[in-house]
């Protein structure tokens, strides 16, 4: 079978998610990937794929990739790239594209260029026997030229260390990130997940057409929107009645004084034309079993509450608190107690061991305090294998990690589960106190600097006076 070499060109963000994403998509679409170069942190993968159609399908779902390029030349220096291309042009590489309208895109990785320099670079390919006209808006064919200057922005070499040239085969699924932008989304909450990360989760969760997907901490439903975009039929549950009914305090600053109207997860699904994939949301406490005993989901996605911007709670009472029941309302407002992060995670894993299909994936985020983190704290369950553990840095001190699990066996009585992430109350405490300390020292430093400046000025003035 004839195979082709492709360069998958990535956006340089969420690097630790990249390989997991590509492998998961390839597995869902059953596309065999042969690595020409072992995958690295560099912003590209060099792969061999069975067909151009396979490349298009693969890139259409990826949100870490920018575009897929049919590689024509891959050389360490610019002159060698041109030499190689010249030779290939003589051998008729350009023949099928000769008469088509075209454009050339230039990317410099870890360096910048002015418009003039960019034009110069494009002009340097003028030896290529193009006969078609340049069309920047709607070209028949797009070419990509890439100069790579390394990964360290502090040490940028004078010349690129690697150069690529090729024909763009397809764009990636990144336009979905803009399509699902929270800025224009009808219903959002305080903790709505960023669209790119939601889409990444749906990809890592191997969501495919006709799957039944559950989010047990659904909130405003960001994860469900992404899962629905990739063909999942979605169900969500949440303990927050007002959230699911779109009656919480408005999230957007500009419209703080106006109550939410017609906002709901379903409305979001309508907005993104995937309401066909929306099944239901249910007000329920995920800590208590309420699913039929043998229900199986194909994928379980969750962003559990950490106690920073939303309370971690479940139904229960510490003391004999009175049960709150508003007169004349059919809605119950049961009292709730603190529900520790490790408890949430263990419950979620036990639940998934029963209600996730075999080889299905369970994904959830956990907050970590970066200094204290080590891999031993991560949740484990004998039914699950850890596939990925990707860090998203939030502040200097804090991060959250996306844990990706695959169910490897059916549950037994002897199953074990553990999770020892420093508990959410300490996380919360640290999250706030550490920031305070930091702010305090910053304030002191500033004050000191101002004082020094004054002394310095005073001295300067003295000198002047003398």
């Amino acid at each position: 079978m004839k195979r082709f070499q492709y360069l998958l060109w990535f956006a340089h963000e969420h690097v630790s998610f990249r390989l997991h994403e590509i492998e998961a998509i390839a597995s869902v679409l059953k596309i065999p990937i042969k690595w020409i170069e072992p995958p690295s942190d560099k912003p590209w993968y060099l792969v061999e794929l069975p067909s151009e159609e396979a490349v298009q399908k693969l890139s259409a779902r990826s949100v870490t990739m920018r575009r897929a390029i049919h590689l024509w030349a891959d050389e360490p220096t610019v002159p060698r790239l041109h030499a190689s291309l010249k030779e290939k042009c003589l051998n008729g590489l350009l023949e099928p594209y000769k008469l088509k309208s075209f454009k050339v895109d230039v990317d410099l990785f870890c360096n910048s260029q002015t418009q003039e320099e960019k034009l110069e670079r494009i002009e340097s390919f003028s030896y290529m026997p193009f006969q078609g006209h340049v069309d920047l808006m709607n070209p028949d064919v797009t070419f990509q030229y890439i100069e790579y200057y390394g990964l360290d922005p502090k040490i940028v070499p004078a010349n690129p260390t690697r150069t690529f040239f090729g024909r763009v085969v397809s764009e990636s699924g990144r336009q979905l990130i803009h399509e699902l932008s929270l800025k224009r989304r009808k219903f959002i909450g305080n903790t709505s997940m960023d669209p790119q990360l939601s889409l990444l989760m749906a990809n890592l969760g191997k969501v495919s057409n006709g799957d039944l997907v559950l989010d047990p901490f659904v909130g405003s439903g960001s994860l469900l929107v992404a899962a629905a975009k990739f063909g999942g039929h979605v169900i969500g549950t949440d303990i927050d009645f007002l959230m699911l009914h779109g009656r919480t305090r408005p999230t957007r600053k500009q419209t703080r004084h106006i109550a939410r109207k017609d906002e709901s997860i379903e409305a979001n699904m309508v907005q993104y034309s995937c309401v066909d994939k929306y099944i239901d949301v249910i007000v329920a406490d995920s800590a208590i079993p309420f699913w039929r005993s043998d229900v199986e989901f194909d994928c379980i996605l969750a962003d559990p509450p950490y106690g920073i911007r939303e309370p971690t709670e479940r139904i229960g009472s510490k003391e004999s608190l009175p049960i709150i029941k508003k007169e004349g309302s059919s809605v119950h407002f049961p009292s709730k107690i603190e529900y520790g992060l490790n408890e949430i995670i263990k419950d979620l894993m036990w639940f998934s061991s029963k209600h996730l299909k075999l080889h299905g994936r369970l994904l959830f985020w956990v907050p970590v305090f970066r200094q204290d983190y080590n891999d031993a704290q991560i949740a484990r369950h004998s039914c699950f294998q850890l596939i990925g553990n990707c860090e998203q840095v939030l502040t200097t001190f804090t991060a959250r990690r996306l844990l990706v699990f695959e169910k490897i066996k059916m549950p037994q009585d002897t199953d074990e589960c553990s999770s020892a992430i420093p508990t959410s109350s300490t996380f919360r405490e640290k999250y706030f106190t550490h920031g305070d300390e930091n702010r305090l020292t910053r304030k002191q430093k500033k004050a000191e600097a101002a004082k020094n400046k004054e002394i310095w000025f005073a001295k300067l003035n003295n000198v002047n006076v003398k």
Binding site: H245, D280, V283, D285, I315
Partner: protein, 125 residues
């Protein structure tokens, strides 16, 4: 709430309840939403259903049609059948109504299409 969801829910978490399935439905407000037929989904979801409960639920809310109590054998290739299932499963929506525990008669309200399964502290074992 769609009939698919009804098929998956139980009230087993209530104190003293053993099975809590199936929940009885009282439908006060029913809406029909047309939605795109996804053959793949319907094929995959049928084995996950309690078929008998599904048919009974359809009858309970007055959408009795000609699907039989027994699931037919080669449904995977029967588009007409799959479309009927699709209609009952996801196109019929209970906007307002109640789900009722078969053992304790505890009522779980459905409002704006969203069922509320929250329990009070004294109802949890």
């Amino acid at each position: 709430m769609k009939l698919l969801t009804h098929n998956l829910l139980s009230s087993k978490s209530l104190k003293g309840v053993k099975v809590g399935y199936p929940l009885r439905i009282v439908a006060k407000d029913v809406k029909i939403n047309e939605s795109k037929f996804n053959k793949e989904f319907v094929k995959k979801i049928i084995p996950k259903l309690d078929w008998q409960v599904f048919i009974n639920a359809a009858v309970q809310i007055g959408h009795n049609n000609d699907l039989s109590d027994e699931l037919i054998d080669d449904y995977e290739n029967n588009d007409e059948f799959l479309k009927k299932v699709h209609h009952l499963l996801v196109e019929i929506e209970i906007i307002n109504g109640e789900l009722i525990c078969p053992e304790t008669d505890r009522v779980f309200p459905i409002s704006d299409g969203i069922p509320n399964l929250l329990l009070n502290v004294n109802e949890v074992p």
